[in-house]
Amino acid sequence: MKLSDRKFKVVVIGGSAGSFSVVSKILSQLDPGFPLPLVLCLHRLKHVRSGLVEGLNMKSKIPVVEPYDKEKLRAGVAMLAPSNYHLFVEFDSTISLSTEDVHNHSRPSIDYAYSSAAYSFRDKTLGIILTGANKDGARGMKSICDKKGYTIVQEPASCDVDAMPQAALRLFEPDQILNPDEIVKALNSLVV
């Protein structure tokens, strides 16, 4: 089934080293009428709480916010995982945050964000893994794949650091392997 024929409840994008520019590019070219909640889980410095969301908002075609705990997912709004908190997607379409221990040396952990979305929304989850320097996110993407969600891996050749996409590709076969321009097109194909 084509991506545009699928029905999703959430899109989760994860990335680490080099992902800021890719996410910024995606957000700047996204259709302003993008119809789904978008969750961004990016590795970031734990003691720098401001700057990233403002930077992304400068070019983004949809609002980017850092959610508070128990905040509702909203269609057409990108929610960026706050620094030093894990982010989980819940059954009731809310976000929950946690200060539990780091996972893969990371908080927020991309694995946790993907896995929680897969657990809550199963095949209605679209996961996209971008450039990054460690394996965090690979297992979470596999969870989305296992629940029959849709998975897109950034083409390793287009990555600043390809360790994260490569780790994902070792674990499962994604629905698509795309460069950043193609990822934008894929997301915009979801706009009716």
Partner: protein, 280 residues
């Protein structure tokens, strides 16, 4: 391979635990319980629910469970901006004598951070601090100054971000090859074994309550109820600090005034004077 818990398993586990004193975890959110119970079962090498229920009859085992259910704060001076605000703005509002409550103390990091600020402002004997947790072992560890050694570098770098003193090493002593927080700074702290937020001293009132990042583990309704209960113990004009990404429940928004939105510091209205101690 650990135990995988479904919804019914989690309900069975929490209702069984709730039969015992200080073990009511039924208000925690389902997703948190799923993760945390999996963690606890792995730590305690639990393979079957029946075995877990049987072992709950042992008091020592129950304390171990409570000990591992706690989400420890992994660094001192987490959110340096919060601590900087406390030092620069709140301490002067609180002197000369004040009482502080940590309604949930899952580890020593927040308490020790606060004590260092007090010490550096010559206020350590101005305060009485009540800390509590449901695990006796955990309370004992904190009272003994136990800290995670692996976080020393991070603790120090956060402390340095406060941009004032540089005498971090003065607050620690070595005991049996391990660094411990200097117990002399804990001289005005009281430790109680109790569930988070529950204060059996009904009339006890505090000037400052620090309850950061514990409420996020609860379901929405319990979260509201917990904050409401805790706020009953806050003096009018007193300060309330929660996690920087934790929102005040809707039903309490009118009961609090924002002091600093970014650091999630609030104040209970009801005092005409700006200086709290003038009304005491």
């Amino acid at each position: 391979m650990g135990v995988t818990l479904g919804i019914n398993d989690i309900k069975a586990v929490t209702s069984e635990m709730a039969r015992y004193k200080n073990m009511d975890y039924t208000g925690l959110s389902f997703s948190f319980l799923k993760r945390r119970l999996a963690y606890v079962f792995e730590k305690l090498k639990i393979r079957k629910l029946a075995g877990f229920f049987e072992r709950l009859k042992e008091e020592e085992f129950r304390d171990e469970v409570k000990y591992h259910m706690a989400v420890k704060v992994t660094e001192m001076f987490r959110d340096p901006g919060f601590w900087r605000y406390v030092r620069q703005h709140l301490l002067t509002e609180l002197e000369p004598k004040f009482k502080v409550w940590f309604p949930d103390t899952p580890s020593g990091e927040e308490l020790y951070s606060f004590l260092i600020l007090l010490e550096e402002n010559n206020m350590i004997d101005c305060v009485e601090i009540v800390c509590q947790h449901s695990s006796e072992k955990l309370c004992e560890e904190i009272a003994q100054g136990v800290l995670e050694a692996k976080n020393t570098e991070l603790n120090y770098s956060n402390y340095k971000r406060l941009e004032e003193s540089d005498c971090y090493d003065n607050y620690f002593v070595e005991k049996n090859g391990q660094m411990r927080f200097d117990k002399r700074l804990l001289r005005n702290c009281i430790f109680r074994v109790a569930e988070p937020g529950i204060n059996k001293h009904e009339d006890e009132i505090f000037d400052f309550i620090i309850f950061r990042n514990s409420g996020i583990n609860y379901s929405y309704s319990k979260h509201e109820a917990l904050h409401s209960t805790i706020l009953n113990h806050l003096r009018p004009g007193g300060f309330y600090a929660i996690g920087v990404k934790e929102a005040v429940p809707d039903n309490l928004k009118k009961a609090l005034v924002v002091v600093d939105q970014k650091e999630s510091i609030y104040r209970k209205p009801g005092v005409k004077s700006e200086r709290l101690h003038e009304t005491i």
